[in-house]
């Protein structure tokens, strides 16, 4: 498979020590997402920090991009509500999930890198708990770009979670042939 120098460079930026593991899937995922999200100035990103018996696992999802802030915010707001509704319907080993106050909803979210040209312009979050050990922190953000492609180093810098982005793009790349489902924040 042939990928542009830019795609390869972005992929290497997300790979620990430039590792080659799943490089083709990674490059394919980045390419697909660059095309899908294009140069719209607003993108909606979901981050999920999930505690379970195995510890803490983080996920990132690039959901969509929009030409206007209003459209992006409306989408993000509705998406956050839909994710909450979805989460509260999940069964956790026979145990329900419950919503708790959101003021402490984001202890695991990475801060954007300094001098990042993309900015967070909207933020919505909730925390769902099940029993004493299972927690989910779901954060939906609108990112305002600087007019460049949504998928690029500036997006990586504002999200600042390289390994989670790596997993997301590999997941997108692996779904290209239809053998795997595309990554979605609606995950049980």
């Amino acid at each position: 498979m042939n990928f542009s120098d830019e795609i390869i460079s972005l992929g290497k930026a997300l790979s620990a020590n430039g590792a080659q593991y799943k490089a083709n899937e990674l490059f394919q995922g980045i390419k697909n997402e660059q095309i899908r999200l294009g140069k719209n100035p607003f993108a909606v990103v979901v981050s999920i920090n999930s505690f379970d018996m195995d510890g803490l696992t983080d996920f990132v999802f690039l959901t969509d991009s929009f030409p206007s802030k209003d459209a992006a915010v409306a989408y993000a707001h509705n998406l956050s509500n839909a994710l909450l509704e979805f989460q509260l319907k999940q069964d956790n080993w026979g145990r329900p999930w419950a919503l708790v106050e959101s003021q402490d909803a984001t202890p695991y979210l990475s801060k954007p890198k300094a001098n990042c040209s993309f900015k967070v312009t909207y933020f919505d979050s909730f925390k769902a708990v099940s029993g004493e050990f299972d927690r989910k922190y779901v954060i939906t953000r609108v990112i305002e770009t600087d007019g460049s492609m949504v998928v690029g180093q500036a997006l990586f810098d504002v999200i600042n979670s390289d390994s989670e982005l790596w997993s997301y793009f590999v997941g997108v790349g692996e779904s290209t042939g239809g053998e795997r489902e595309r990554p979605t924040p609606f995950m049980s």
Binding site: M53, G55, L56, P107, G131, E132, F133
Partner: protein, 116 residues
């Protein structure tokens, strides 16, 4: 949800965050997951330093102890809520991979006086 129940949940989150986030870098030799709720319960009853937990659970965790104490100190004592908490933890502990978690937790519960 009562104030005590809410506070127990928040404190469990704080202790879980301390020991299980950041790749478990704050865990000491011999750490077990049941130490998380046990830590909260012992502080609730003013038993900081109890030998029901390893010494290292109390060593250099003064800030965490103070945080848990602060969040619990104004709650109304309620034995039923404590029993529900213990019962809830007991039903989840078997999901941890180490089989010793269950026996050690049950032993802790046996030794621990639930009276608030």
């Amino acid at each position: 949800m009562s104030d005590l129940s809410r506070a127990l949940s928040i404190c469990t989150d704080e202790v879980q965050h301390h020991y299980r986030a950041m790749g478990g870098s704050n865990q000491y030799d011999g750490f077990m997951n049941w130490h998380i709720p046990a830590f909260v319960l012992l502080i609730y009853q003013g038993k900081v330093g109890s030998d029901l937990l390893p010494y290292r659970a109390w060593h250099k965790t003064e800030n965490l102890q103070a945080l848990v104490k602060l969040k619990l100190e104004d709650t109304e004592p309620n034995k039923e809520t404590l029993e529900e908490y213990v019962e809830s933890v007991t039903s989840q502990i078997p999901r941890f991979k180490n089989e010793k978690e269950v026996s050690q937790w049950l032993n802790f519960v046996k030794e621990f006086n639930l009276a608030p």
